[in-house]
Amino acid sequence: MVLSCSVCDVIVLPFICIFKARRCIRALKAVRAEHVAPQVYSTRWSSSTVPRITTHYTVYPRDKDPRWEGMEMERFADEADVVIVGGGPAGLSAAIRLKQLANQHEKELRVCVVEKASQIGAHTLSGACLEPTALNELIPDWKERGAPLNTPVTEDKFAILTEKYRIPVPILPGLPMNNHGNYLVRLGHFVRWLGEQAEELGVELYPGYAAAEVLFHEDGSVKGIATNDVGIGKDGSPKDVFERGMELHAKVTLFGEGCHGHLAKQLYKQFNLRENCEPQTYAIGLKELWVIDEKKWRPGRTEHSVGWPLNRNTYGGSFLYHLNEGEPLVALGFVVGLDYTNPYLSPFREFQRWKHHPSIMSTLEGGNRIAYGARALNEGGFQSIPKLTFPGGMLIGCSPGFMNVPKIKGTHTAMKSGMLAAETAFSKITDENLQSETAGLYIPEYKEALEKSWIWKELYAVRNIRPSFHNYFGLYGGMLYTGIFYWFLRGKEPWTLKHNGLDSAQLKPAKDCAPIEYPKPDGKISFDLLSSVALSGTNHEHDQPPHLTLKDDSVPVAQNLAIYDGPEQRFCPAGVYEYVPLETGDGMRLQINAQNCVHCKTCDIKDPSQNINWVVPEGSGGPAYNGM
């Protein structure tokens, strides 16, 4: 009695097919909507009626721009053995592993890490509850070396919230959200510590320099990266202080840009890496740090909730961790799946609203908020892992996406993927008899190593939990599935559920949805957007082209505003996008406040027109998180 659903091509058991039907119909509608929009508007709107927003050279190439005639465009180039893009857990673990191997085998190896943040850890944001498995393998004596894992988990609580009540749900041992043996960490500080370990081993760290361009050999393999140019004015013209970025060439380049990296986006197209996997799905995580009343502080307590204020069909939930780092500090935050359908939903305001729940307010009352930030995270899991290696390069960490969604942990898998990439790259680079077909090394052994590792087993076991939410009962259907199938079968069920398609295709038109009435922030527990953004310490050189580039400047007003009531003004956690009235009086225009950007990547993911392309701004710009 096994049926095969004709639309979503999955083998379903009878009672699940009822839930699937709605999803299939939604998928069909999404496909239809995707094809309608672009053609209708590009012929009717000319760019002369729309104020110019985008000036970046990735949209308006400089070789055709008269202002750039005669400018010196030569770049200084340097050679390394391995270049790593991104100084986060994956990138630094890879760097450390490479140097450990080099020292062990007495080989010289030049490893360079480029990182867009001004200091290592400044763009890192996570809950975070760290499973120390990968760290134990990488640096077994981490405790003696002073790794900032100061808060072992002592209490683990899970609940379903309603508007007024909190219904505790027991966490049975064996369920993925069991946290025994894990540590609550300030990931930014952990990443900073990893950076120090890397430097001690001789890794060259270059924070403040963003990788802006992938370089290719003549044979199409990856040659390395080029860092960002500096000194380009807001209008796209060169300033007096203009200088070209630098080229870093390597035998192999590891791309660890984190969730939805902009270079990875390019590489997916270039090497067709996503042809055999599902599109990645995402969530946005917003986080704050609070210093609370000492009487309410329970160091080591881990609290998660689902339910209110989200409805059962919007995936998401909260976390609240009591840290043990001297002062009574709690890290709390809210995650909203970016496959939500109502364009009036504002993840930021849901977060602020959630804090007013009686059970949360009791912890926060009398406390002080000291930090704020946001970042997109992966939810696709096993089904969305792309091809990971291509000639000259490899993808590591949250960039391809190894997050264990029900556990809400991705740091340990990111670190392990970096370590495996390092090990396979090291063998290839130091192999004296190597005959490489391409100038940049192709290392398929990385994928094989991953498939044999615990990452693969772990992600395979939980692959069906997130997609199980795509049913009529939403949250409750998903919890039921997890309780029945995961707890008994641990992911051994023979089917693999599919995701719903691209997150950007999920929004319903505004006219079909009800606006959400959010309460005004009270300034003590909940806050307004701009004061929150100020706390992130984010800043960018203002006289540079906006790095949130639009392929077509007319699309925001013509499509996003017209059909979806401008969802970007609500999903951006930093207030970058604003629809303001035109100076002439009639109509609106999109204003991009690029300086506010916290590099979360949500706009690139959720834009229903997929018109926004986030590119990296001048290095050192972005948030100044301290231990987030």
Binding site: G121, V230, G245, M246, G537, N539, A624, N626
Partner: protein
């Protein structure tokens, strides 16, 4: 010209970061907070490097006082074009109480030791806003000073400085050696690009202790407490001028 320029650079909390007072009210939280070179010091370094490029000076030496981390700031100055650096090691309690008087004593001692002909500093630091170090250094050395400079030119043996003052601009001519403090409009600092950062790793940074220079860094000031500024209260709207006058009288303002 065989002139040597000494440039002072200070590592301060980045201007875009929200400051937080420490729970014990003795100062502000600095651990892990983003720091960068004081913007006015960047302008000072740029001016010195410009003078070197015009071949008016021979060598630019960047100096910073503080713990190990200030070496990053000196490296940035080296990447912008300074030739070598001097790190004056001051850490712990001494660093927390380090102020303009001690720094100016250190700079004066270094200027004599290095036989500097010109000292360029930022007009003030954005963390303490003292605006004293340049002036004190000039006084200790008994050198002329051109502060709040928005334009600096070397003419023969003298320095022509255009200063930004309350009433407008003042142009003075001072003898060398001199102390100049940089104001905002002096120049636009160049970026420290990656190839230059890599080259800067090879440039020398000498380590010196204040005691070696004969300077006592103990402070004569004691910080009693540090508080956040009072929360901005909401305003009150009134309907008529009469009401306004009434409210002002109530508040004891008139």
């Amino acid at each position: 010209m065989s002139a040597r320029v000494l440039v002072g650079v200070k590592r301060v909390i980045d201007y875009a970061v929200k400051i937080r007072v420490k729970p014990d009210r003795t100062g502000v939280v600095t651990d892990g907070v983003k720091h960068s070179m004081n913007p006015f010091c960047e302008i000072a370094v740029e001016e010195a490097v410009k003078l070197k490029e015009k071949k008016l000076v021979k060598e630019v030496v960047a100096v910073s006082c503080g713990p190990q981390q200030v070496q990053e700031t000196i490296r940035t100055a080296l990447a912008m074009g300074a030739d070598r650096g001097i790190h004056v090691e001051v850490s712990g309690k001494d660093y927390e109480t380090l102020g303009p008087l001690q720094v100016s004593k250190i700079l004066a001692a270094l200027a004599k030791k290095e036989q500097a002909d010109l000292i360029i500093l930022g007009k003030q630091a954005i963390d303490d806003d003292c605006n004293q170090t340049g002036q004190m250094t000039a006084a200790l050395l008994d050198w002329p000073q051109g502060t709040f400079a928005s334009e600096v030119n070397i003419e023969a043996d003298k320095l022509k400085v255009v200063r930004e003052i309350d009433g407008g601009l003042e142009t003075i001519k001072i003898n060398l050696p001199a102390v100049v403090t940089a104001d905002l409009r002096l120049n636009t600092p160049r970026y420290a690009t990656l190839p230059n950062i890599m080259k800067a790793k090879k440039k020398k940074i000498a380590n010196v202790k204040p005691a070696d220079l004969g300077v006592d860094v103990s402070s004569r000031l004691e910080v009693l407490k540090v508080d956040e500024p009072p929360q901005r209260q909401a305003g009150v709207k009134v309907e008529t001028v009469h009401d306004l006058v009434g409210k002002l009288k109530e508040a004891g303002r008139i």
